[in-house]
Amino acid sequence: MSTNPPVTRAGSIYDLGYRRYEGPRLGRAHAIRSLIVHSFRTTYGIGRSGRAKAAPIIFGAMAILPAVIIVGGLTIAARFGFDRQLDDAELIGFNNYYSSVTAIVVLFCAAQAPELFGRDQRHGVLALYFARALRRSDYALGRLIGFMLAVLVMVLVPMVILFLGRVLLSIDIGRAFGNNLPNVPPVFAQGFVIATLYGGLSMAVSAFSPRRAYATAGIIALFVLPGLVAGIVIGIGSSTVGTWLVLVSPNTILDGTNALFFDRSLGEEYFFVTIPGWAFLLAAVVEIALVVGLILRRFARITI
């Protein structure tokens, strides 16, 4: 073959040998796992340019900020000897933290969901995936689960900070641990619902709109417009049929499941709502199933 030194000109082709691959091929499950990991990393900009990291860092910081402030407040209070009172105080606690960061989660979804389905469609990468040894549904589910995991981490990290802060800064760590422990299951349950519902909805929008700007606008609209409808219903109040309309908004669904998991009553603005708590959970499950079905259908039919 050629005796050229392999560095004369960028882009020249030299034969340094091609070897066969005799090793194992791990199949579809491995492909799905890889897609989940890749989607998670892409969402947070890990291994990507600084620009791709900007949005996840900003929104992540915003989501964590309240928790940090609370823990900071606890620390200062402990210094001045108010810790006994603070152990039982309810400022922003586990049961209302989520609703205080909902807007940030929505923005995070709107900014990052188009990075996955949208990017693959915009740049034609879909053809490279579909030409490999996996099903279209494997691709769609891998991407979807990866993004849901990313949202889950986004909402759980502040809770972990809150938990550690409340426990470790207490004078009686054992008692504080015991006091805070019952919050863990509802925190996980609610975090799981947020991640799957918001993650799923925003991925569905981005699956249908490859253009980034449209996808982002669509996701925000999807979270805001039904909220307006629900707001009007709440404003009008009462009417039995009307109360079920609060279920059209993902936001109110989350308020409902939050109340259900933490075993509290809904906020004052819901005074007229007579729907049982499980109805909100059911609405969440139905909506998530619908969204997964839509995404699978989209990628089963898409021509590349």
């Binding site: 082709i13 070897r19 791990l26 034609g124 490999r132």
Partner: protein
Amino acid sequence: MSLIATDGLTKRYPGGITALDGLSVAIEPGIIGLVGSNGAGKRTLLKVLLGLLEPTSGRATIFDLDVATRGIAIRELVGYMPEHDCLPPDASATDVVSHLALISGLPRTAARERTAEVLRHVGLYEERYRAIGGYSTGMKQRVKLAQALVHDPRLLLLDEPTNGLDPAGRDEMLELIHRTGSEFGIAVIVASHLLGEIERVCDHLVAIEGGRLLRSAPLGSFTERTGTLAVEVEDGREALVERLTARGLRVVVDGPAVLVDLVDETPFDIVRDVVVELDLALVRMEQRRHRLEDLFRDDPTAGNGASAPAAPAAAAAPPPPPPVAR
């Protein structure tokens, strides 16, 4: 075992366009050129073979695996290089190729090693760590080839691999394809509308037109005629034809042009001399190399045994269009 076999393969798109029309062909391993003009059905055929498109009727097999039912097993053995852009601009070549190696089922370390090897094989060195957005077309084409090779396929499907490349880039890409196909035992199918390029690397040609098979034969039988020379003159065309025929050339009149068979270089000189002798005003003299219509027209000079074996199959009345779902 044949590499690829199709039987009455038909694909109609919703909207009534028939991309494949009862295509029946058997292809043996090697470097195969799939030629046809734009819209002949080349890309549709590749996509059907990959299981990316469902045929309307007929069947196709690769390595004796049915594309309709064994799509995943087939795609494990096949590497596909699409014609269109398919690389995210903000990722590096290493990122893209190693990620796709994982998707093809390679373990993490193997994926990393093969990515480095394959990118070197296609001629990408330090630049493989840079974002693809800054690559030249030639470099992008190499990355596209590398991702098709990274899982060590038995068959490569390349769709217009020289598209957008300058002449030097074309030469290098063709050389790379040739070496990949001939030295590493990977069967290659190169779809192209540029016969002149394809004949440099392939040992077998499959020509399709309008979704039907025109001809499938070893390269040699295609290149016996190397082309035609189109000559256009003002007035005096008849005299030119007469003189050229008298000098022993095979001449056909085609509209305003006189087509001269090019067997070797001599017709150039003869045409020049005759034009000077007759004192004609020469408007145009153009070598029409390997235009598909020339090659597949009735061709008395290429009267060997390889005359369109599948023509009857293509002529057999295709089934009436079934109602297309969706």
